[in-house]
């Protein structure tokens, strides 16, 4: 089974600080991690490989340092990693990102399953998965938290979560799924995996190697543009109530009444 897992390197929430004046992130001290949902996508892929055999390829579009994310994925058991990196990819919105990822997946050859996280925690868009499915002509199910492969080895039953409950859906591979964190518990890297990852070479593909049209990648291929960003200021009226439990409860109730909530 050929499985491709799309992973994105994102800033670690722990390390992110915001500059209220400028309305941007503070770049200093920013640490990068694999998007948390993508760990679950990778784990889902690895579990299928463990059970049915095959190969798991991790794919990421990003700056050169996204290589670290791919290496981490290798240490967890992915068979190969490919980095899509090119100055021309900078400034990509989801439209340009799905185009670029699709070009790479086509270059990889026939694939049975593409897995994405539900969303990336930087942009929180959740658009790349469904968009990529269109580009690849694959059926797509989002927000999956259970995945079972049937005996024929190509029919899947998946559980899609929505506001009212869930649906059980059936579809055949090849397909694309986006997964929730509740689908599994990601494994930890093994020592052997870590060593293999350290030695591994991560090929870097640029726009030319992908055969990507220059006007469809990066900023040029993006339909949306950011006009401004700012840091929202939260209620500055922070108030710590003092006194006994009763007194604190009284104070809270009176504030909530003023706010029109009680």
């Amino acid at each position: 089974m050929n499985i491709v897992v799309c992973i994105k390197q994102v800033p670690d929430a722990k390390s992110v600080r915001y500059d209220t004046e400028k309305g941007t992130l503070v770049r200093e001290g920013l640490e990068a991690i694999i998007n948390p949902f993508d760990f679950h996508a990778l784990e889902a892929g690895l579990q299928l490989k463990d059970a049915y055999g095959g190969e798991v390829t991790v794919l990421s579009m990003g700056p050169p340092q996204a290589e670290n994310a791919l290496k981490e994925a290798l240490s967890l058991g992915a068979d190969k990693g490919i980095l899509l990196s090119d100055r021309a990819f900078a400034g990509a919105d989801t439209l340009a990102t799905t185009y670029t990822l699709a070009k790479a997946i086509e270059k990889l050859g026939p694939v049975d399953l593409v897995l994405c996280g539900k969303q990336a925690i930087d942009g929180d868009t959740a658009q790349v998965g469904p968009g990529l499915a269109v580009r690849l002509g694959l059926p797509c199910v989002t927000c999956v938290n259970e995945l079972n492969l049937m005996d024929d080895g190509k029919t899947m039953q998946v559980r899609r979560v929505n506001e009212d409950g869930y649906d059980i859906l059936e579809l055949e591979m090849p397909a694309l799924l986006t997964v929730l964190a509740s689908i599994n518990t990601p494994r930890l890297p093994s020592l052997k995996g870590k060593m293999r990852a350290r030695k591994a070479e991560i090929p870097i593909w640029n726009a030319l190697e992908l055969g990507a049209k220059p006007f469809m990648v990066g900023l040029a291929g993006s339909a949306t543009q950011v006009v401004s960003t700012w840091v929202p200021t939260f209620d500055a009226r922070r108030e710590m109530f003092g006194g006994s439990a009763e007194e604190q409860v009284d104070a809270l109730v009176s504030r909530l009444k003023v706010a029109g909530i009680l």
Binding site: P11, A13, K14, V16, K22, T24, L25, V26, R27, P36, R87, A88, G91, T94, L95, T98, I121, D124, T125, A126, Q127, P130, A133, R135, P139, C140, V141, E163, G165, Y166, I168, E170, A181, F215, G218, L219, A220, A223, T224, Q225, V227, S228, T229, P232, F234, D235, R238, E239, M240, A245, Q248, V249, D250, A251, L252, V253, L256, A259, I261, L262
Partner: protein, 399 residues
């Protein structure tokens, strides 16, 4: 590529200040760009007082020509279990407001099975026209059928703006539509406006779990598409006197093909399923010490007509289902009132709730980081404070 017009540049340093990526700096009195670090986000371009910066796109544009031939605002109605989603009505009110500025018509698109009777409700809430697609294949939701029909309609009718709810369904198939139409889509918006000078749709949304807000436009592609968070906009009171046109659409056969079968749909109003739409959330963290105590949070949530949320620690302890988890790997919420009980305030939790209007925290540790983001802080044991609070509110309500 980001280009500096050295004639215009005065070396004032505004750009250096505004760059998140340290990609532009002043050297010898002129701005210099580190092209490798630059992500071409455009923030410095907008901030340059001299207009000396420009993002240059190397080659032709994959843009929609003749933007002016795209007219009207579409609201994609969502009907679940025979009821119109509240966000649909909220969007109709917003669409009316935008339509006033654009002098445009508001069209609602209603897809499903046996849903035609909802068309009037959409008109009462602000639609001038309703396109109804009522078909057996739409009885259950699949991305392909819903997405392909909507994309096909949009290609033929050319609306200027398409708005949909940022619900599980909307966030699943609307990106499909945007990709088919090769246009931009802004997810999970909390604000929509029309820019005065060029009538562009200004789409405002949170990123980084609500820690950063961004306003986004889609300048050269049509339609301009956005999904909008439920409960941030206000629906209008329905006007039963409003008149509108109902147009039935019969979808072409090839649009009804799909490769995903819905075997069953389970309605399971469990804990957590309505977190995203709740106005009040009471969250239980590890501070509850044991499962039985979590009932205190449930009782308060029930009394307030709200939902129960959890931290990952509470989920890991097996006290609440993972669907109630709020934060980086759970749900992002922004209710009117958020009560965090026995929650330390780890950053992975905070990013999922920081956008709440009023945040209350109850924690026995006065130094807990959760207090850094709270509006009102109570220091004490949840086992003591929660029963008191519940009783006090019951009394308040005359219960």
């Amino acid at each position: 590529m980001l280009k500096v017009d050295t004639e215009k540049c005065t070396g004032c340093g505004e750009c250096e200040e505004s760059c998140t990526f340290e990609a532009i700096f002043v050297k010898d009195g002129k701005a210099v760009v580190d092209q490798d670090a630059c992500t071409m986000c455009g923030i410095c371009v907008n901030g340059c007082p001299e207009g000396a910066l420009e993002l240059q796109v190397e080659e032709g544009l994959y843009a929609t020509t003749d933007l002016s031939s795209w007219k009207g605002i579409w609201v994609i109605a969502e009907c679940r279990g025979g009821i119109l989603a509240s966000v649909t009505l909220e969007l109709l009110a917003k669409a009316r407001e935008l339509a006033g500025e654009l002098e445009a018509e508001v069209t609602a698109v209603l897809m499903g099975r046996g849903i035609e009777s909802k068309a009037q409700e959409l008109i009462f809430h602000g639609a001038d026209r309703v396109l109804v697609v009522d078909h057996q294949e739409l009885a259950t939701f699949t991305d392909e059928v819903y997405g392909n029909i909507l994309a096909d309609l949009a290609k033929r009718e050319r609306p200027e703006i398409i708005l949909a709810g940022a619900t599980a369904m909307g966030r699943s198939y609307i990106p499909r539509v945007a990709t088919i139409l090769e246009t931009g889509l802004t997810a999970d918006c909390t604000g929509l406006d029309i820019r005065a000078e060029d009538k562009a749709l200004l789409q405002t949304r949170p990123a980084f779990g609500g820690n950063l807000m961004a306003t986004i436009v889609c300048p050269e592609h049509r339609p301009q598409m956005a999904t909008v968070r439920p409960h941030v906009m206000k629906a209008d009171i329905p006007d039963p006197g409003r008149k509108g046109e109902v147009i039935r659409i019969v979808p072409r056969e090839n649009l009804l093909e799909h490769r995903v079968q819905v075997l069953k749909s389970v309605n399971e109003q469990t804990e957590g399923s309505n977190l995203g739409e709740a106005d009040i959330i009471v969250t239980a963290g590890r501070g509850f010490e044991q499962k039985e105590n979590v009932d205190l949070a449930k009782e308060l949530a029930h009394l307030l007509g709200g939902a129960v949320g959890s931290t990952r620690a509470a989920v890991d302890a097996g006290w609440l289902s993972s669907r109630t988890q709020i934060g980086q790997t759970g749900v992002t919420v922004s209710p009117k009132l958020y009560i965090a009980c026995g929650v330390s305030g780890a950053i992975q939790h905070i990013v999922g709730m920081q956008g709440s209007e009023i945040i209350v925290a109850i924690n026995k540790d006065a130094e807990a980081p959760i207090f850094d983001v709270t509006t009102y802080g109570l220091v004490g044991d949840v086992k003591e404070i929660l029963p008191l609070l519940t009783k006090r509110i019951q009394k308040e309500r005359g219960l």
